[in-house]
């Protein structure tokens, strides 16, 4: 390592060093980082989209209809928010293993298995927060939608729109749980990167765990920084989309 690059890794001391070298050298190939970020986002975003598609109708049904076992279901949803992720990982691994009910699909150590695992973890959080959001919408607004000629679907859409800030919070909470997950994705995904340096099932969190365990703290810290930036960027994007919908 040249004196110039050694200094630049910590801080650029001389102007000529700054001109010819980056602030720090990445201790790994950019294709490796890109593939890890891609796997993290692919798995988490798909899992959260699926969770949202399931959670919103469930929240609306639980929020606005009466049926036997409603309180039990609500308790189960709330309990699910605190379900240990490692246990979820074990259950999903059993489900997709060759002896499990989804064994024929051969999903062990695949992104799809990771999506299932994150779906199971994110759904209770998204459902519970969405349920609180939709039930807090003034019932007079639902009456107004109905009075203006709205169908049940129209009334449900008005409710979702009025509860959009709470629902955005629910989606972000679910995304936060999914992308920061280590235990279950490690179990069902296996933390695999190919010989070409491209991630198969390695995510930012499992890569950080691996780097830290092998003593490469600098690398782990950089990956941690990337994870924080990714989470902030996704949050900003989702909040922006929510704000754009205010006047529409």
């Amino acid at each position: 390592m040249s004196p110039c690059s050694a200094a630049a890794t910590v801080a650029p001391l001389a102007a000529d060093c700054l001109l010819v070298t980056p602030l720090f050298e990445f201790p790994f190939e950019s294709v490796y980082v890109r593939s890890i970020v891609f796997v993290s986002l692919y798995v988490s975003v798909l899992a959260v989209l699926l969770s949202t598609a399931v959670s919103l109708p469930v929240a609306l049904v639980v929020g606005f209809s009466e049926f036997p076992g409603k309180r039990l279901l609500t308790s189960l949803i709330n309990t699910g928010m605190g379900f240990p992720s490692v246990v979820v990982g074990l259950l999903v691994l059993f489900t997709v293993s060759s002896q499990g009910p989804l064994g024929e699909l051969d999903l062990v150590f695949t992104k799809e298995a990771m999506i299932i695992s994150q779906f199971v973890l994110a759904t209770p959080a998204i459902t519970a927060i969405s349920l609180a959001a939709v039930t807090s919408v003034d019932s007079n607004l639902r009456d107004a939608a109905r009075a203006l000629g709205g169908t049940r679907l129209d009334v449900a859409l008005v409710t979702i729109k009025e509860a959009r800030y709470g629902i955005v919070t629910a989606v972000l909470a679910g995304f936060g749980r999914a992308i920061s997950e280590v235990g279950s994705v490690l179990i069902v995904g296996g933390n695999i990167a190919g010989a070409d340096g491209v991630s198969k099932t390695r995510t930012l969190t499992t890569a950080i765990q691996l780097e830290a365990r092998q003593g490469r703290y600098e690398t782990a810290m950089i990956l941690g920084g990337i994870l924080v930036v990714v989470v902030l960027a996704v949050n900003a994007l989702v909040v922006r989309l929510g704000d754009d919908g205010v006047m529409r």
Binding site: N140, A144, A145, A147, L148, E162, M247
Partner: protein, 271 residues
């Protein structure tokens, strides 16, 4: 219009735009709120249901708006029994009725989007999705009916204002425009000016009169006898869930037949 007690008091001419409740009763489970009430409104007529708070005015309007099925009696629209047809046919009838509540109940959106709501949900899903995508990539252009309805209540310059920024009176005027925009045959208004100042009250009353002149049948529930006198073609006095007396406005106020009606219109306590 005919109002009164019992089925015989209701009229069944079945003319266009006639909404009619005949001998309706309704019970929430702890005693009848509305009992054997008949009321019909024709196109272009302003009917005011007066009575103190808690006598069943809102429930009666809810029955007329087809929100609730009466325990007894019928609600017909142009001769069609609304509760003898399937849900899609009932929805079609419901979509010919506009309702304005005591509270404005505006959605968290712009004035234009609020007023356009009734028009939007009457479009096909294909058109609704196309409009939604269009509003994302380009400026919103509210239909002429939105501007027209807002101009009736003097709010045409507030198209782009957020509903949350309006005063109570302005919000209620927008709520009226929202019900007017899709050109209903009948308008039902539940205490529409009870929380408003005189200026906004005058705007709403003018709008009610204009709606009647445009051929819309209007039913207003209120405890404000002065308002009833100003806007009503006919009046029904509701007390304890039943109609005490009904008829032309002047007859009710000048020469009431029922003693409790006389007390009520003279401002005495009737309980």
């Amino acid at each position: 219009m005919t109002v009164g007690r019992g089925r015989a008091a209701s009229r069944s001419t079945g003319s266009a735009g006639t909404l009619e409740a005949a001998g309706v009763s309704f019970d929430y489970g702890d005693g009848a709120v509305v009992e054997d009430v008949s009321l019909a409104v024709d196109s272009g007529e302003v009917v005011v249901v007066i009575g103190p708070s808690g006598v069943g005015k809102t429930t009666l309007l809810g029955l007329l708006a087809l929100f609730e099925r009466p325990d007894d009696g019928t609600v017909t629209f142009d001769g069609t029994d609304a509760w003898a047809v399937d849900e899609s046919q009932r929805l079609a009838l419901r979509r010919r009725i506009g309702v304005v509540f005591q509270d404005a109940n505006l959605f968290d959106a712009s004035v234009a989007r609020n007023v356009e709501y009734g028009l939007r949900i009457r479009r096909s899903w294909r058109d609704r999705i196309r409009d939604a995508l269009g509003s994302v990539i380009g400026p919103d252009r509210p239909p002429g009916a939105v501007r027209e309805a807002l101009s009736v209540v003097g709010m045409a310059d507030d198209l782009d204002s957020p509903a949350a920024s309006l005063s109570g009176g302005e919000a209620q005027r927008v709520s009226f425009a929202r019900a007017l925009a899709y050109d209903p045959d009948v308008l039902l208004l539940d205490e529409p000016t009870s929380d408003l100042d005189p200026r906004n009250t005058a705007v709403i009353e003018d709008a009610i009169t204009e709606a009647g002149e445009r051929g819309i049948g209007v039913v207003v529930a209120t405890h404000d006898m002065h308002q009833a006198r100003r806007i009503a073609d006919r009046v029904a006095v509701l007390l304890d869930g039943t109609v005490l007396e009904s008829g032309p406005t002047d007859a009710i106020f000048e020469n009431p037949a029922d003693e409790r009606t006389r007390k009520f219109v003279e401002g005495e306590l009737v309980y």
